[in-house]
């Protein structure tokens, strides 16, 4: 019996994984366009922390905080930043995944979206906005950074999941691609849904 116990103890190995904090960003087009192709390129998504007051003891400290590494390295490893090109199909009314974050604990208050010429998907043909069909062909290669705020949402063990739903009101094409893109981005709104 004791040998069996020793064997069980020695030979047994087990493991488990428990998910952490997660923020999903999706895009929905309220009034999809009836075109053959209509794409909007998002190159970068960032969760923006709520501004927090500096603790009083930090103001007394003569030692400043320094990063051992910086610049592109921090950008590449910042869990609040996703640099991955994604195309939003403006012809679809369904929720489309844009980015998923595994961020550190803290509160987030906004999401920053960088709309820029697509670097990864041939359907967009290197454009930010590409519309084609029904006798229309428009494109824009402009770059916009749009930051949309929402009520502060805590991310911690009690609030581990959050979904940010981006909503676009796709209007009929304007005079040219740049104008259509500007009009489209003016309609972006964000809804924060907390999941438990």
């Amino acid at each position: 019996m004791s040998r069996a116990a020793v064997l069980f103890f020695v030979l047994t190995a087990c493991a488990e994984r428990e998910p952490g904090l997660m923020v999903s960003v999706t895009a929905e087009v309220a009034s999809p366009l009836s075109l053959d192709t209509a794409t909007l390129s998002i190159e970068r998504v960032e969760l923006v922390r709520c501004e927090t007051a500096r603790p009083w003891w930090r103001t007394l400290s003569p030692i400043s905080t320094a990063w051992a590494h910086g610049g592109a390295d921090v950008e590449a490893t910042d869990p609040r930043v996703v640099v991955a090109p994604v195309l939003v199909a403006l012809t679809s009314g369904e929720a489309q995944p844009v980015a998923t974050f595994a961020p550190p604990p803290g509160s987030v208050c906004a999401v920053s979206l960088t709309f820029a010429p697509s670097t990864a998907d041939a359907r967009a043909q290197g454009t930010t906005l590409f519309l084609e069909g029904a006798g229309t062909r428009q494109l824009s290669t402009r770059r916009y950074v749009v930051t949309k705020s929402f009520d502060a949402r805590a991310l911690d063990e009690a609030h581990p999941a959050l979904t940010l739903r981006l909503r676009f009101e796709a209007a009929p094409p304007g005079a040219d691609g740049d104008q259509t893109l500007a009009a489209l981005l003016a309609t972006v709104s964000v809804v924060a849904d907390e999941r438990t």
């Binding site: 020695v10 190995a13 493991a15 994984r17 997660m22 051992a68 910042d78 869990p79 595994a102």
Partner: protein, 293 residues
């Protein structure tokens, strides 16, 4: 294969009923490795340890590790000059990443086999000095841990690097009267490539301690445990974060409530750490129970 070997060893092993001389003239309370060997001596020990470490940059890639570890150690001296030491760890480890995602693993760790060859101090009833040569090998016996979906845990959550680690060293124990003893050792190891293509940098470890026994059954030990480790490589890419010198102060209280039983409780507190990290290690608490058969 290693599990099969372990299975055979456990099934075929019998409990020893040999009784070594307990009237050994040296009154120093010694743990395995620092003790006076004599033919037939068998010692068994369990050491419970708890430690934690944080590495990485806050808000970016910080990960926290914590571990509870039980080392089962047996030492056997078949010849007066030769002692064989086997150490089998059982570990429970948890890794928490920057997003609070956790990986937990439990199981046997990596087995250590050590041969200690006594160069100075043999065939003496009460030697003042014991100088030994140490040769050891850590074997990659910790299985690769997988979660319920079959995906392997990260490298840091595994219970060891999964590498063969040969080591060589020398140790010196000095007994000064009935109340004082000192211990020093110097070992170097050169890990081979292990799990996920990790090759931990070669390391040198120095331990130095002095022990005072105000009364026969009580020992107080203090010293330094320092390790320097060269740069590690992960799939051929240098990973210098944990390379450097980590020096810890050690303090132990050793009691022997009855003959053949020794209990030691101690702590190791980091005080010089040149590893670029960023990394921080907590003090390590330990409790050892040792029996002379």
């Amino acid at each position: 294969m290693s599990r099969l070997l372990l299975l055979v060893l456990v099934l075929t092993a019998g409990w020893s009923t040999a009784c070594p001389t307990c009237t050994c003239a040296n009154p120093a309370l010694t743990t395995i490795g620092a003790d006076q060997p004599f033919a037939g001596r068998i010692r068994l020990a369990t050491t419970f340890r708890a430690w934690a470490q944080q590495d990485g940059r806050a808000e970016l890639d910080r990960a926290a590790l914590r571990e509870l570890r039980l080392d089962l150690t047996a030492s056997w001296t078949p010849l007066e000059r030769l002692t064989l030491i086997l150490n089998v760890p059982l570990q429970a480890r948890e890794r928490t990443d920057v997003s609070l995602a956790k990986e937990r693993g439990f199981g046997p760790g990596e087995l250590d086999l050590t041969a200690r060859v006594l160069l100075v101090g043999a065939q003496t009833f009460r030697p003042r000095h014991l100088i030994s040569l140490l040769a050891s090998a850590r074997l990659p016996t910790a299985p690769t841990l997988h979660d319920a979906t079959g995906s392997a845990l990260s490298l840091d959550a595994q219970l060891g690097p999964g590498a063969f680690v040969p080591a060589l060293g020398v140790s010196w124990t000095a007994f000064i009267g009935d109340r004082w003893s000192t211990f020093a050792s110097l070992t170097g190891d050169v890990p081979l490539e292990g799990r996920y293509g990790l090759r931990i940098g070669p390391g040198v470890q120095v331990v130095g301690a002095a022990q005072f026994q105000p009364i026969r059954w009580l020992g107080l030990r203090a010293g330094v445990d320092a390790r320097y480790e060269a740069v590690s490589f992960l799939r051929g890419v240098a990973s210098p974060e944990l390379a450097g010198l980590l020096t810890q102060a050690l303090a132990d209280v050793i009691v022997s409530p009855v003959s053949r039983l020794l209990i030691s409780a101690g702590v190791r507190v980091p005080f010089v750490d040149t590893r670029p990290g960023p990394v921080s290690s907590t003090p390590i608490a330990s409790l050892t129970v040792l029996v002379d058969l």
